[in-house]
């Protein structure tokens, strides 16, 4: 059953500040798509629009979940999570004063997810054995890498079909960035996820991405149909890598 995401002509902003201008992008079934761009170009805003945390001023966002096509704009975040879309927020945004297990349980707060909570918790601990060891520990007391694993685990607790990951590399040491990116690839294959990943770390993101978009000042500046196209593009080299 196909799971995909299509964003078309989206404009969005905060108050009178326009952040996204006529953004269109798509994520096909079982694809990993990277949304590349430096700080302040609108990557997180795009994620918020998909999750219903911010309402676009115009444009459409549709998701296809298990073959059923649905309009996401106008739905509440809870409904969108219910449909099978989950977000790993920027900077992890864990609940630092709650335990690891409580953090995971909060990923499955919705009634629809609670039925399978035991199975999802098991599969989460299986994927991240470290979290099982630390399940009684406060989330805030773990290392950055472990926290990122917990953030990924929490998002998986709602058994999503489409996973949005906002800047998984933020605040992590280079070796951990590499491990996190590897883990995302592993998760994607293991659970058959469709992934949209916003990332600044170009080289790491391109390593696992099937395709990518470069976002500059709220507009899609370039669309790369594969890693090579992204790597060998003048625009990317000039605006993004500063080469």
């Amino acid at each position: 059953m196909a799971n995909s995401l299509a964003i078309s002509g989206v404009n969005a902003g905060y108050g009178s500040v326009r952040v996204l201008e006529n953004i269109s992008l798509s994520v096909g079934h079982a694809e990993t798509v990277a949304l590349l761009g430096t700080n302040g170009n609108g990557k997180s805003t795009m994620m918020k629009c998909v999750m219903g945390l911010l309402r676009p001023t115009s444009g459409t966002i549709t998701a296809e979940i298990d073959g059923e096509r649905m309009d996401l704009i106008g739905r509440s975040t809870e409904e969108i999570v219910d449909l099978g879309i989950a977000l790993v927020p920027e900077g992890r945004r864990l609940f630092p004063k709650l335990t690891v297990e409580e953090n995971l349980l909060l990923g499955a707060f919705r009634k629809s997810a609670r039925g399978a909570i035991a199975a999802n918790l098991d599969s989460c601990y299986e994927t991240f054995p470290r979290l099982k060891e630390r399940r009684r520990q406060l989330a805030g007391s773990m290392s950055g890498g472990e926290q990122q694993m917990l953030a990924l685990g929490r998002a998986l607790m709602s058994a999503p079909r489409i996973l949005l990951i906002d800047e998984p590399s933020v605040g992590l040491a280079p070796i951990l960035v590499q491990r996190t990116i590897d883990k995302i690839k592993e998760l994607k294959e293991r659970f058959g996820l469709t992934v949209l990943m916003a990332e600044q770390n170009f080289n790491q993101a391109v390593r696992i991405a099937d395709r990518g978009y470069v976002i500059v000042h709220g507009q899609i500046a370039f669309e790369g149909r594969d890693a090579d196209e992204l790597n060998n593009n003048e625009l990317v080299r000039k605006f993004y890598l500063g080469l």
Partner: protein, 338 residues
């Protein structure tokens, strides 16, 4: 312990306390003092459901409390009103019904305030609730039927149900209310609801992004918290026999109901219970031995002391001690035998 078992045990203890005190304590003053202590158990537990569990600081306690009290005034005068206007005769309304109605009214007000103010966060929410208390007081001051600013005298029924004096009856009801509110708080803490509340307290935006219905949870918290406060206030007119806006909307209720959970510890149901029993008992003792004017001073000093020395309250101190002991034991066990 499971919630149902805990509730049964708690109610059994409550009933035992009622029977024991009413058999052995003949001094009326005991009941007057114990009523106030129990009233604060309910108030601080109610405050903690919103303030401690979700982290939204409510300073409008006196509004919910006094509206509960004034709903009783209206119900008290209702038979007379019905008789005069429609020549309808109804018996006077029993106290438990008044408590229920007070709870419903304050609960609805809680829901409404929640709806209007919960988009505000942090200090702005606190200011809005403070403003609400002032609005509610102004309304009561200008409502002549319930006595307006000059207040109203309520004559207690001569006979109390369950035998004994009326104050003993009010005391018994307050024991039950206190047990009930503690059971509710403990149930919340251990349920899905409590987990959601804790998520809101820790990082509301993250909770929202993860699909936790934050607005709905916050509305549940304000409604429950408001309803319990209203229930705590409902018997007040019969306790004081003279109710006026200045004293029933007194800021002292708000200060106490905030200070007690802070001193006891806000993360668990037991914190407000410890804080309110401790603080309210000290206040009652000070009222008798020194002067009632000292009460707020005591609260103020204790509050400052706790914020500096033990910001997580008595509960925080106990927990830290337990953790230290556990680490010590773990270290001992880990050390190779010599």
């Amino acid at each position: 312990m499971r919630t149902s078992t805990f509730s049964i045990v708690a109610f059994a203890i409550g009933l035992a306390v009622i029977v024991f005190t009413r058999v052995f304590f003949t001094n009326e003053y005991f009941y007057f003092a114990a009523y106030v202590v129990l009233q604060y158990v309910v108030l601080s537990t109610a405050w903690n459901i919103l303030g401690g569990y979700t982290g939204y600081i409510n300073f409008g306690i006196s509004a919910f409390f006094a509206l509960g009290a004034y709903s009783t005034v209206v119900l008290h005068k209702l038979p007379e009103l019905l008789h005069d206007t429609w020549n309808l005769t109804i018996p006077s309304i029993p106290m438990p019904v008044m408590i229920l109605v007070g709870g419903i009214i304050s609960g609805v007000i809680g829901l409404a305030t929640g709806y209007l103010t919960l988009r505000l966060r942090g200090v702005f929410f606190a200011i809005a609730t403070l403003a609400m208390a002032i609005v509610a007081q102004t309304l009561i001051v200008n409502w002549d039927y319930v006595g307006g600013s000059r207040g109203i005298y309520i004559i207690r029924p001569a006979m109390a149900p369950l035998g004994g004096g009326y104050i003993q009856y009010l005391y018994s009801l307050m024991v039950i209310l206190a047990v009930m509110s503690v059971c509710i708080a403990r149930w919340i803490e251990r349920s899905q609801l409590g987990l959601g509340f804790a998520a809101i307290r820790d990082d509301e935006q993250a909770a929202e992004a993860g699909g936790v219905p934050t607005l709905r949870l916050k509305l549940i918290a304000t409604t429950l918290s408001g309803a319990l406060m209203g229930m705590a206030g409902a018997p007040l007119p019969y306790y004081v026999t003279y109710l006026d806006p200045t004293s029933s909307f007194s800021l002292a209720y708000a200060v106490n109901a905030v200070a007690m959970p802070v001193i006891g510890g806000m993360t668990s149901w037991i914190g407000p219970v410890i804080g309110s029993i401790l603080l309210a008992t000290i206040q009652q003792l000070a009222t008798v031995t020194i002067s009632s004017a000292l009460n707020l001073l005591i609260v103020g000093l204790l509050l400052i002391a706790f914020v500096i020395i033990a910001p997580k309250g008595i509960l925080g101190v106990v927990e830290a001690q337990q953790r230290r002991r556990a680490t010590r034991l773990a270290n001992l066990a880990a050390r190779p035998a010599q």
